[in-house]
Symmetry: C2
Subunit: 602 residues, 2 copies
Amino acid sequence: MAPVSLAVLVILSLLVKRRKLCKGCLNGVPGIPSPVNFLEEEKNKGLVATVFGILICSLCRVILDDNPLPFLSDTSLQNREYWKILALFYYPALYYPLLACMTVRHRTGDILGSMLSWLHCGILIWQKIECPQSAKFYRFYSLLSALPEISCFIVLSFIYPALLLKNCKGASKFAANKASGRSYCEKYLKNILNKNQQKARSYNPNQSFKPWLLLQSYIYTSQQGFQLPMTLVLSATVATIVVYQVALLVLVFFLPTMQRIQDSIGDDFALMLAGFGIVLAEDKEEVVNVVKYYLWALEVCYISALVISCGLTVAMLMRSLVMHRTNLKALYRGAVSDVFHFPQKLRPTHSAIISWMSFTSYQAALTCLGLLLQQTVFFLCNVFFAFLVIIPLAYGRNLILFKFLKAMWPVLLMMALVVILQHLSARFAFLHKEHLQQEVTNRRILYLLTYLLFPVNFLLGLLVGIWRIVISALYNIVHLCRLDLSLLHHAVECFDPAYRNYCHFLKIEVSQSHPLLKAACFVLLQLLSRHEGQTRNKPTDVEEGIQLMQSKKPVLNKVKSKQARVRWWVAYTLLKNPSLLASRASFLFQCTSNGAQTMSSS
Amino acid sequence: MAPVSLAVLVILSLLVKRRKLCKGCLNGVPGIPSPVNFLEEEKNKGLVATVFGILICSLCRVILDDNPLPFLSDTSLQNREYWKILALFYYPALYYPLLACMTVRHRTGDILGSMLSWLHCGILIWQKIECPQSAKFYRFYSLLSALPEISCFIVLSFIYPALLLKNCKGASKFAANKASGRSYCEKYLKNILNKNQQKARSYNPNQSFKPWLLLQSYIYTSQQGFQLPMTLVLSATVATIVVYQVALLVLVFFLPTMQRIQDSIGDDFALMLAGFGIVLAEDKEEVVNVVKYYLWALEVCYISALVISCGLTVAMLMRSLVMHRTNLKALYRGAVSDVFHFPQKLRPTHSAIISWMSFTSYQAALTCLGLLLQQTVFFLCNVFFAFLVIIPLAYGRNLILFKFLKAMWPVLLMMALVVILQHLSARFAFLHKEHLQQEVTNRRILYLLTYLLFPVNFLLGLLVGIWRIVISALYNIVHLCRLDLSLLHHAVECFDPAYRNYCHFLKIEVSQSHPLLKAACFVLLQLLSRHEGQTRNKPTDVEEGIQLMQSKKPVLNKVKSKQARVRWWVAYTLLKNPSLLASRASFLFQCTSNGAQTMSSS
C-alpha cells in the first residue's frame, strides 16, 4: 500500500477520465450537452438517480475528509477551504460525462458511458481493496461509507450496456425518443379518461377511517398511470443515501469511543470515582462492573435511538412521496385549493425557478439535519428512560424519579381524583338527554365545581402545558425532514422556508411538465415534422391523438358522449391551468402558419 | 412584628369571615347559592374577575410558600403536601362569599359583600404594613406579590358599595334582573339586524394588506354590539395577573443573587480564576472589573429578556382576545367552517363540559409556562448575542464567533455568490415574457446549473434547515400561551391538548349562551309570567320582541323586506345552530301548553 503510487494512479485515472470528458463533449451534440432533461426525462430515471447518488457520496467525502481532492498532496493542504470549494464544483464536473453520455442518445454515447462507468467502478473498488482501512473515526469507516457509491457505480455499469443493447436491437433513434417521451403521457391520459377508474378514485374519500389505511398512507406503492417526476425520484434517492451516510457517521462517532472507554476502565477508575465522592458500590470489582453495565446501557440507548430515528426518517420520506403524488395529481386536475391554503397562480416566477433548482439538495440537507436532531433527542429520551425508570426498577439504583413521585404522590393522587370526579360528574350529572340531543343541566353545581376546582385545574393545566411542549417539539423534530408540510401554523406557513420552497417547486413542476401538455406537444410536433415532408415509418401518426382518445373502443352510440367528455376535460384543464394556454396558443399559431391545410384536412 | 400575635390575629379574622360565610349562605336563597352564572352573567363581570384575580394570587402563595395556610403553626408543617392540598380547596371556599353576595341580588347581599371586602382588604393591608419584608427570595417580594391582591380587594370594596347604591336608587329587583340579562342581547340583536353595519363588516376582507392593520389585530378594542363572555374575561384577567406574578418571581430569583455575587467578588476571585487557567487580564484589579462588567451584562440580558417575553406574552393574550371574538362571532353566525378545519357539531358533550370547566385555569397555566420558557430562551439568546457579538465588537474579547467566521469566510462568500448567481440567472436568463405570461427559457443551461450547483445548494439547505428549526421553535415558544391556535400541523391539530380544550370550550359557549337564544328565552319567559297573572309595571313587554326588530323605525314600504330579512336571519340561525332548535322547540311546546291563546293573540 504505497500511498504515493496510489496518488499517482488516481491522478492518472483522472486524466484518462478527463480526456474522455472532452471526447464526450465533442461527440454527438455540438457544444455542451444538457446534463439531463429534468422536466421531461421519463425513461432512464434510474441512471440519473445513480449519478446523483454518487454525487452525494462524494459530497459527504468533501465535507468530512481533510483531503477533499484525490490528486492533492499533503503539502498543498495549507488553505484547505479553497480546495474544498473547488471540490464542490470538481465532483459534479467529474461525473458530468456519465450523464452526458446518456443524453446524447446515440450508440457512441452508450459505449463511452459503459467504459467510463466501468473505469470509475474499477478504480474505486481497486482503491478500497488496496487500502480498506482508514485512520479516521473507525477502521472500516472509509469502506462502509463508500458502499453506496460502489453499488451506484455497479448499477451504472449495468445500465449503460443495457441501454447499448437496446439501441443496437434495431429500434431507430426516433422510436426510442418517442417511446421515452410518449409512453408515460399516453398512460396518464388513458388513465384520466378511463371512466371506471375515476369512479374508483372518487369513492376513496367516502371510506371510513381504518388504522391499516393510515399505515398504508405511509407506504409508497406505485399507482397505475402515474409516475413521480424526475426531481422527486432524485430527491428520494439522495435522501435515502443521506440517511445511510449520516447513520453510519453517527454510529462510528460513538461506538468505537465507547468501546475504548470500556476497555480502559480498571480498578483505578473506582478510586477516581471515590475521589469525586461517587460511591457506586463497596467493592472495587463491583464498581467496575456497574460502570461497565452503565456504559453498555448507554450503548443500547444510542443504538435504539438510531434505529428509531432512521425508521422514522424513512417513514417520513415515504409519506412525503405519497403526499407529493397526491399534491401533483390534485394540481394536474386543477384543484389548487386542495394543495395550497391560499389561492396561488401556477406560473413560473423567478423565485419558483430558484426553488425548483434547489429542491433536491434542500430535501437531502433537511433529511441530514432531521436525522441528527432526532438521534440527539431520542438518545436523551432513551437515557432518561433507562436510567430513571428501567435501571431503578431492575436494580433499585438511581431512585431519583421514584423518590420525587413518592414525595408528590398526594398531589398527583388528588389531581387524578379531581380528573375522575370531573369526568364522572360531566357524564352523569351535567348532561341529560332531551329530544335526541344532550343538554346541560344542574348548572348551579356545574358553576360551583368550576369555581372550586379552579386552583386544581391550574395545576392540571401545567401538566397539559408540559405535554403540549413535548408533543409539539417531538412533532416538529420528526417532521423536520418533510418539505411538503409547514411546521408553522397555516396562517403563517409561507414563513417556513422549506415549505415555501416546496410550493414553488410544485408550481414549476405542474406548469412546465403537465402530462397532458406534453402529450399535446408530441402530437403537434409530429404533425409539424410530417408537413415538412420527412418520411415516417408509421403512416398512422397523425391520427394517434384521436386513437389515443378512443383506445377503449367504445360502442358507437357512446362515441358522442365520450367526445364530449374529452372536450370537457381539455376545457377544464385549460381553465384550471392557464399556463398551458400560452404554450397551446403559441403552438397552434406556429402550426397554422406552417400547416394550416394539414390541420384542416386531418 | 410578633409572628405569634399575627397568627392569632389571622385566625381570628378567619373566624369572623367564616361566621360571615355562614350568614351569606343562609341569607337570601336557600341552600348553596350558585357562585356565578358563568354562562349568563352579563353585568358585574368586573366583580367576578377581581375575585378570580384574588384567587390566583393566593394560589401563587400556596404553591410557593412553605406555610400555605395562615392559621398553621410551624410545628404542624411536618406533612406539608396535605396542607397544600387542603389550601387548594380552602382559598376558593374562603373567597366564595364574595361572589355569593353578588349573586343574591339583594340589598343585604350587597351590604354583606361590602363589609366582607372591606374586612379582607383591611386585614391584608394591615398585615403588609406590619411586616412588609419577608425572608424569602427578596426583602420586598411578599409585598410586591401581594400588590395585585390588594388592588383587587380595593376594587372590590368600591364595586359592592356602588352596587348597593344602584340597588337602593329604587330600581326594582326585576328591572335590575332584566337589565343585566337583556341589555347585551338587545344590543347584539340590534347590531346584527343593522343593515349598514353588515355592509361595513362584509367590506373588511376586501381591504388591502397594511402593516398597521396587522398591528391593530394585536390590540383588543371593544366593538359595538359584542361583549366577550364571562369565561374569556376571567381568563384574560387571570392570565394578566399570572404574567405579573411570574415576572416578579423570575426577577427576584435572579437579581438579588447577582447583586450578592457582585458584592462578593474581590482579588481572591482573580486568583481562583487563574487557578482554573482562565486569565481575563494581567492585573488583578482589571480582572475584577472585567468580571463585574460581565455580570452587569448578564443582568442587562436578563432584564431585557424579561421585558421582551412579558411584552410578547401580553401581545399574544391580546391577540387571543381578538381571535376569541372573531371565532365567537363566526360561530354565532353559524360559520363553523371558518373556525374549525373539520366539520364539528356545536353540541354539549361530556368532554366539552370538562374543557369548559378548565378553560380559564388552562389559560393561566399555559401563560405561566409560556412566560418561563420564553424568559429562558430569550435570556440564552441575549447572552449569546451579547457575549459573542456586542462585547467582541466593543472590547475585542471573546472573538470565538468572529474567528469562526474568519475561518469560514471563503465558504460563506462562495455560498452568497451562488445565491446571487441563481437569483440573477433566474430573473434575467431563464424567464422571458410571452403573451403576457412569463415562460421558462434556456432550459439546457437551467438543467446544467441545477446539476452543477447541487453540492452548494446542499450546504445552503443546511442553513435553511437551521433557520427552519429556529423559526419553528421560536414560533411555538412564543405562541405556547395561546389556546386559540394549534401548535401542530392542521391535519393533526386535535392532538394538541390546549387547542382541543379551546374547541370544546367554544362548543359549550356557543351552544349554551348564544345571544339570540338568550333574547328569545327572555321574551318567552316574560310571556309566560304574564300569562300566569302576575302584574307588571310595563304593559308593553309582550310586543318587545317585535319592537326590538323594528327599533330602527323603517319607512312603511320597507317593512316587508325587513320582516323577510328577520325571518331569514332566524331560519339561518336555526339552520346553522341545530342546538338552538331543541331549546326553541321545548320552550314553544311549554308555551303552547300553558298559553296558546296569549301567543295567538299577540
